[in-house]
Amino acid sequence: MPSGIRSFSELVVITLGVTCELPETSKNRHTSVKNVFIPVNYCCKLWQEVFLVSPLVYFVQMDRKYFLGTAATLLAGTAVPLKKSYANNNDEELIYRKPPYLENGDSIGITSPAGFTTHMEIQPAMQVLQGWGYKIQLGNTIGKRDFTLGGTDEERINDLQTMLDDPKIKAIMCARGGYGSIRIVDQLNWTKFKLSPKWLIGFSDITVLHNHIHNNFQVASIHSKMTNSFPDDWNTADPIQIETIISIQDALAGKKIKYSVIPNTRNKWGNGEGILIGGNLKTIETLSGSTSDIKTDGKILFVEDTGEYLYSIDRMFWNLKRTGKLKNLKALLVGGFRVKPDDPGEEFGKTLEDIVLEKVNSYTYPVCFDFPVGHQKNNFALKCGVKHRLSVTEKEVTLTEII
């Protein structure tokens, strides 16, 4: 390759005055490069022979290895190494689709794509969902266990795959988070889901699925409590437990979201409109650089986490910033962070608010702390991939679903 060019994706071909970046092929060694235009009137060496490329645009299809050899010769001296744009966070042109909202009698599937759960543990959720008029279809991973996982990878893939493909199932509620979605996300076949989207419901480790379908298929999903958060006894439950569970019912039924939040004195005031996306901060960081990595330009980002040290939260916000995810937001919602106390002598010396604000103080969009999303009782349903308006004033914070 010409000196100074580190990878294939950094080669830029100048064609007829148009600069186009070649496709990223790191995923597949044998990806064939198609539709590559060779510069007009260029003397180039193909297979050891010298051709004078005609004034017509030359159309080639060749495999990568061949192309590289050719491109190196062809582009020597003309290829421009671009500083890789690490912060390509723009997909604002894309249209996000909402799956059909649920009707009375529709079926909701319950599955364990991550941590394991028992039949006993999902009883309260089943009763409530049935009480709302939905049928429940239990996946065969419920009650299965492979150490911390809800069955082997294969079992969890098959169960979720069946639900994604079954046209009778209108929504899939994940039993719980924990860990495991990342182990199966690339093995799932999304063909039928793309054709007839349905609501995926969950949070925490399920952030993997939300972000994956957001980035790849532009389908809306519901970030909310899962079966393990339904109160055992509806009559003795906290009002906030009831309210947050009802927020799932409202979201599934197509009721527009409108939440008011008590203002935190460190909020940044303002208004912002954009598609909502986000989830568990650690999970978002571990998706960086993968096909499930979200683009955040022009969007409202929400993040939450639990049990992390302040230094670790700080590092994760640096990851957001350094991957360009904070720069062009319309708004930032900071949910619950049950912070792990600093070890004695290792005091971090900054609060969560300090950590966030120092990363975003140069931006003008509104920032809301204490947003009711996270590993806590006041964890309301949010629609990822749906347009919202956030308004933050001294007196009031409201998040409203629009369109």
């Binding site: 492979d146 150490f147 911390t148 990342i182 960081e285 571990t286 650089g289 993968s290 350094r322 010396g349």
Partner: protein, 304 residues
């Protein structure tokens, strides 16, 4: 890709010592200072090594940045040894000016949180650096062990030749390539940022400390899913010490987890290489070319 190897050290050269991340009391650096002195170098202590900081860091971002910056820019200083890792490089990395350093490269020494500095320098400036023991490793009578002495040899420019015992999970074969790597969590953390490392045709080494088993699984999947394992020349798995497990056990050991994730690749893999947060931590030159040879008798990593 051509890499610049900073000049090796001569007797009488100056090594700067800084604490760019976590706080460390200067008493704990004493043996390290004396040892470097004994190797024939003079040690210049940065302001962050005798800081009055009361919190986690060895100083404010500005203090840590200025101290490191001054060492990078001072042409008399031929190497910079980071006294300690911890956490803190992420906070200052984008503010460091490498302008003078690029013109007059010098050895940056450290590991753990310093992985970010290594990756950043390798990716952006193609200058070799030293993944090696920091000040604490010299304490408790360890200043003369083979791992500490490997740092001495590295600074003097003696080509490395390390051997390690076979491990049942090893994959035999020979690999040649530039060496990159460091702390697994931090390599994952810089993915997608301006300090990210491209690993194609390289020998990658990984180590970590105090991680949950499920998280090691997740971090490896991140490397895999961001394309960092696909086309390696070879893989070196160091120590994963003081791991933690969740209340509901993960059910696999660290090496089981790693083996499961990398077993399908056909490049050579060496497990249990002495690079870690415990004393088994050979000096490795990030960016330099090495040959990894894994046989059923012994694994050898040598500089070429």
């Amino acid at each position: 890709m051509r890499i610049t190897i900073p000049p090796y050290l001569q007797k009488g050269d100056t090594i700067g010592m800084v604490a760019p991340a976590g706080f460390m009391p200067i008493e704990k650096m004493q043996t390290c200072i004396e040892t470097l002195d004994g190797w024939g170098y003079s040690v210049q202590m940065g302001t962050t090594t005798h800081s009055s900081s009361q919190n986690y860091f060895s100083g404010t971002d500005e203090e840590r940045l200025n101290d490191l910056q001054q060492m990078l820019d001072d042409r008399k200083i031929k190497a910079i040894l980071c006294a300690r890792g911890g956490y803190g490089i992420s906070r200052i990395i984008d503010k460091i000016s490498f302008k003078k350093f690029r013109k007059h490269p010098k050895w940056i020494i450290g590991f753990s949180d310093i992985t970010i500095l290594h990756s950043h320098i390798f990716s952006n400036y193609k200058i070799a650096s030293l993944h090696a023991a920091m000040a604490a490793a010299f304490n408790d009578g360890e200043f003369n062990n083979p791992y500490i002495l490997s740092l001495k040899d590295a600074l003097e420019g003696k080509p490395a030749h390390y051997e390690c015992e076979v491990h049942a999970f090893n994959k035999t074969g020979v690999a040649k390539g530039q060496l990159v790597g460091g702390n697994l969590s931090l390599l994952a953390h810089v993915t997608g940022t301006g300090s990210d490392v491209k690993t194609r045709n390289k020998i990658l080494f990984l180590e970590d400390v105090g991680e949950y088993l499920y998280n090691i699984d997740r971090l490896l999947l991140q490397l895999k899913r961001s394309g960092k394992l696909d086309r390696l020349a070879g893989l070196i798995i160091g120590g994963f010490t003081d791991n933690k497990d969740t209340e509901r056990p993960f059910g696999k050991s660290t090496y089981d987890i790693i083996y499961e994730q990398v077993n399908d690749y056909d490049f050579p893999i060496c497990f249990q290489f002495p690079v870690s947060h415990s004393k088994e931590n050979y000096a490795l030159k990030i960016g330099a070319k090495y040959k990894l040879s894994v046989t059923d008798k012994v694994s050898v990593l040598q500089e070429i």
